[in-house]
């Protein structure tokens, strides 16, 4: 599946010809710089997510409650997500038509929507209600959360290697 089957080609052309898209495409250093910031953003995103999920699994920082650990890392998670999304949108604009038929890109966007929805609903509820949950529920949520975001990363990496969509 690719976005070109849902959205008209004119949308992608409009994105690519936007001020930001054109600017990035015509510069040799902007895209690599933005991608580096994207990578740093997702390192922080994964780092914060991993510590909270490992706390849910009972691997690290056991002396503190899940709710406390989660609230400490929340600001880092959302800031990192914001950085990743902004740089991601900028990279998309610079090569929108190529992304329109890239299946890995489609999968990545779907997975991000799923991962963020899961994070805002189940994950948030489980980490904030802390002790009232069963341990098993916490562990299950942690595994699912790690799996969701790991798939996002893998799909993201695949964008660079997928030449055509299906």
């Amino acid at each position: 599946m690719v976005f070109l089957k849902i959205l008209p080609i004119s949308f992608f052309q409009w994105c690519e010809n936007s001020l930001v898209g054109t600017g990035i495409r015509h510069s040799i250093w902007q895209f690599p710089t933005i991608e580096t910031i994207h990578l740093i953003g997702l390192t922080i995103l994964f780092g914060s997510l991993m510590v909270v999920d490992l706390r849910l699994l009972g691997v690290v920082l056991r002396q503190h409650s899940v709710a406390v650990v989660a609230s400490d890392f929340m600001i880092w998670f959302w800031t990192a997500l914001l950085i990743s999304v902004c740089t991601g949108v900028a990279m998309f604009l610079s090569e929108a038509t190529r992304m329109s038929y890239n299946s890995a890109f489609f999968v990545k966007i779907v997975l991000i929507v799923l991962a963020v929805t899961f994070h805002l609903t189940v994950h948030r509820k489980v980490v904030s209600s802390g002790a009232t949950n069963s341990v098993l529920m916490g562990k299950f949520t942690a595994c699912l959360s790690l799996l969701c975001w790991l798939s996002v990363a893998l799909a993201g990496r695949a964008i660079a290697f997928v030449v055509r969509g299906f």
Binding site: I44, F46, G47, S48, V51, L61, H64, A158
Partner: protein, 164 residues
């Protein structure tokens, strides 16, 4: 024999060519490299922030170091092995360009920084400042250097990929 001769020989060796030209091999190794990066830098940065005193002040230093450093070490192993294979796939390019030379300089420095942190003078005295918000200046220096070096390594790594 000069080092460049060795690099050229390695660059032309069949398995280096295979790593370089096989799309799946390169893509798979690079993916592991990035996952290793997330696991190592994504965990060690919280220890660094705790040492500097920017964040995570609630947690005891010993607790953070003991629990997160081990994960970072696993991530580093994945990153190092996959990074070594990536280096083997493009030895001549890595030898020539500035970005990789910088990366190869920063890596041992980051390693020395960790060794210094675990010396008697720094982590050896942790019991005295385990719960302190403001850690000794040596610990703050180690944390700052670690953050600068690791994020420098990420930047130089990305820069290596983009230089041809």
């Amino acid at each position: 024999m000069h080092f460049i001769n060795f690099v050229t020989w390695l660059n032309n060796s069949p398995w280096s060519v295979w790593l370089r030209e096989n799309d799946y091999a390169f893509a798979t190794i690079e993916t592991f490299h990035i996952l290793g990066l997330g696991l190592s830098v994504g965990t060690i940065m919280w220890v660094d922030l705790r040492l500097i005193g920017i964040s995570m002040k609630r947690y005891r230093v010993k607790e953070m170091v003991r629990q997160l450093e081990q994960l970072a070490l696993y991530g580093f192993l994945v990153m190092f092995i996959s990074g070594f294979l990536l280096l083997c796939s493009e030895p001549l390019k890595c030898y020539t360009i500035l970005a990789f030379r910088l990366k190869a300089t920063m890596l041992p420095l980051a390693g020395l920084n960790v060794l210094y942190f675990h010396s008697k003078g720094v982590f050896g005295t942790v019991s005295e400042w385990d719960e302190a918000t403001i850690t000794p200046w040596r610990a703050r220096m180690v944390g700052t250097l670690s953050l600068i070096l690791w994020f420098g390594i990420i930047i130089a790594g990305r820069w290596t990929a983009y230089t041809s």
